[in-house]
């Protein structure tokens, strides 16, 4: 019968298609038999090839030390999307074995149980060498869940040519005079804008109005004696000191018109702004700069020098297939030897590395004096940005209130009261 032949043919095709489906769905995944190299996936937010190569060299050394073969895959996720992508991957089958952790999300990641405990593995590499203050964020109930591979203070990078064109003293000269503070910073920014037409200041990575709002404002706020919130849950974002600090920045943007405003893509590294706040890892962007540049610590405020450090940790996925190897790898990558070699990019939280004379020459683009003044002196005393287990919620909800600040006639106190209300909702 014709129909039955047709049906048979279709059935055959269907069976073939269905049989092929699981094969295709595997996407050509290699046989996961234990033979062959151990596959380790490492998630970072850097895509700098030199930095990836350095990290890969650590993996190779570790593999040689352990007598195993490791095939490392580095996944670079854009900074703004890092937490989103990482948290999704950690729920799926393509989860990284080792991953960087943002300081602001450290408490949430630790509490979620996604980070493996590392104390046993770290014991081999002198864990007492880490500054206790630098480890606070990465520990819970006396156990370590990630290790800070970078404890990097914020400092000011400046375009010396623009300072010369405006005929004013450079930040380094002002530091030498003991006159480098937020008022002289503001005056310099305005003088350059007035004299040259170039913006005086660009916020950190241009994200100071949104994704990096606390990176931008916390150095000013803390040096004025304020803070976002304290570790014991006191909310200080609308204190008089915080308001005065934020008012200063707001006036720079809207009264002086000297700061790259929201929505403007002018970039310090392209010569379109005279100063920016940065960390050591950004200095490599100046390797090809066609202008003279210099480095100075963040300006001081009424409370003196109050350095702010940005931290980043590295941890092992607790539910990964290779969790034991991943834990050992994390411990090795944060050993004294590796930290010393990373120090020129990501400043160390290890005392021996920080005290070593080699540290001051570890960043080839910075002189020993610059490393000492802008980086080394701030690491021990610097404080990390505020964090909280509910930070993702705090960040999303407070952002809507922060946005009200970025209009010329914004009332700073009112806006910060609104931000404090959001903080209070989550921080108890």
């Amino acid at each position: 019968m014709r129909v039955s032949r047709k049906i048979k043919a279709i059935c055959l095709l269907l069976v073939l298609a269905l049989a092929a489906f699981p094969v295709m769905a595997q996407g050509g995944r290699e046989n996961s038999a234990p033979s062959g190299p151990v596959e380790i996936k490492i998630a970072t937010w850097t895509s700098n090839p030199d930095q990836i190569a350095l990290l890969n060299s650590f993996v190779e050394e570790f593999a040689a030390k352990e007598g195993i073969e490791i095939s490392a895959e580095f996944e670079s996720i854009e900074f703004g999307e890092y937490n989103t992508r990482l948290s999704l991957e950690l729920q799926g089958t393509e989860a990284p074995d080792v991953f960087w952790v943002l300081e602001t999300s450290a408490p949430a990641f630790i509490q979620s149980g996604l980070l493996a405990e590392l104390d046993a593995e770290l014991a081999e590499y002198n864990p007492d060498d880490f500054f206790p203050k630098a480890m606070e964020l990465w520990q819970k109930d006396g156990k370590t869940y990630a290790v800070p591979f970078s404890t990097s203070p914020f400092f000011i990078l400046y375009n010396a040519d623009l300072f010369a064109a405006a005929g004013i003293e450079t930040p380094e000269e002002l530091v030498a005079e003991g006159n480098w503070n937020w008022d002289t910073f503001r005056e310099a920014s305005k003088a350059i804008k007035d004299a040259t037409g170039v913006w005086g200041y660009q916020t950190v990575d241009g994200g100071g109005y949104d994704v990096r709002i606390l990176h931008n404002l916390c150095p000013i706020i803390r040096s004025y004696g304020g803070d976002a919130w304290t570790s014991d849950g006191e909310i200080l974002i609308n204190s008089p000191e915080s308001v005065a600090a934020v008012q200063l920045f707001h006036d720079m943007v809207y009264d002086d018109g000297s700061v790259v405003p929201p929505g403007d893509q002018s970039n310090f590294f392209a010569g379109a702004a005279a100063m920016t706040a940065a960390q050591v890892s950004r200095v490599s962007n100046l390797a090809q700069a066609d202008f003279a540049w210099g480095v100075a610590p963040m300006p001081s405020g009424p409370m003196g020098d109050v350095p702010v450090t940005g931290q980043a940790g590295i941890g092992a996925f607790s539910k990964g297939d290779n969790v034991e190897i991943a834990k050992k790898l994390v411990a090795y990558m944060t050993s004294e030897s590796c930290v010393a070699r990373m120090a020129g990019i990501w400043p160390p939280a290890r005392n021996t590395v920080l005290q070593s004379p080699d540290f001051l020459t570890s960043q080839p683009l910075l002189t020993s004096d610059q490393m000492s003044a802008a980086v080394a002196s701030s690491i021990e005393t610097g404080r990390v940005l505020p964090s909280h287990v509910m930070y993702p919620q705090i960040e999303v909800e407070s952002r809507i209130v922060w946005d009200r600040l970025w209009t010329p006639d914004a009332d700073v106190q009112t806006v910060l009261d609104g931000v404090a209300d959001v903080y209070a909702k989550y921080i108890k």
């Binding site: 298609a17 989103t84 405003p261 929201p262 893509q265 909800e397 946005d403």
Partner: protein, 299 residues
Amino acid sequence: MRGKRSKLERGEALTGYLFILPQMLGFLILVLVPLVMIFMYSFESRNLLFGNMGFTGIDNYKTLIEDDLFFLTLRNTIVFSLGVVPLNLVLSLALALYLGANAAGAKVVRSVIFLPVITSGVAWAIVFTYLFQGGTAGPINYILSLVGIEGPNWLHEKGWAMFAVVISRVLKNLGMNVLIFMGAVLNLPQDVLEAGRIDGATKPRLFWSIKLPLLMPSILMVMIVTVIGSMRVFDTIKLMTDGGPEGSTMVLVYYIYHQAFRTFNIGYAAAVAVVLFVIVLILTIIQWSLRRRASFYED
């Protein structure tokens, strides 16, 4: 009452079902199962980092009713749709009528108008972010400054941000609708139009009394697709404004993304997604029922 089907009929019916089986399997696995899971998640306290913390009944929906941000995003979604849909329909219909009349430069305009459709949405949004920069750094504000107008900080001022996003979105998708309308315009029965002209109908009269009613099925179909598309906008918002300033461009889909992947609150995001699903479903039903009434010439 239908009689019992013959063996031949049953065989043919089976052939038909087998033909649609692959499509149905795809629908079941990739659409229906996730849809059902979304409904289930909406009754759970589920977190992307912490996993499922248990069945919570209608708690997520209770939270939703008390969530000011949800109602802000709902309002923003309506504003966005009210901006995009009429503008898109009017412009695309006008362009289709112009191009369908084989006016001067029609071929060039037809190609240019379709270019944004084949351009990546990400690239389009990045270019428009550059164009809409504040101060005089952005090309749009620079051109405005040449005629003495100080342009706003488009993407960072409440009000203007939504306007800029709507313009970007309308221009991006215009070409597809123009293409659909052009097909309809070129298929307009020439004898009816000719009869109208012989009877002395002016161009506006021809449009309002003959062309528009004949085009109504296409208009309604395009309207449904555009409304649903506007409800699902994501990339434009993500890249141009990130939902700001002050949440003024935070639309429902972007709010779902925020809740699910930025605050990791999958359960609550699922509840918002269910609400969006119901809204789109109701709108679609309304528009399909209108289609029957407004399509004078549809069989």
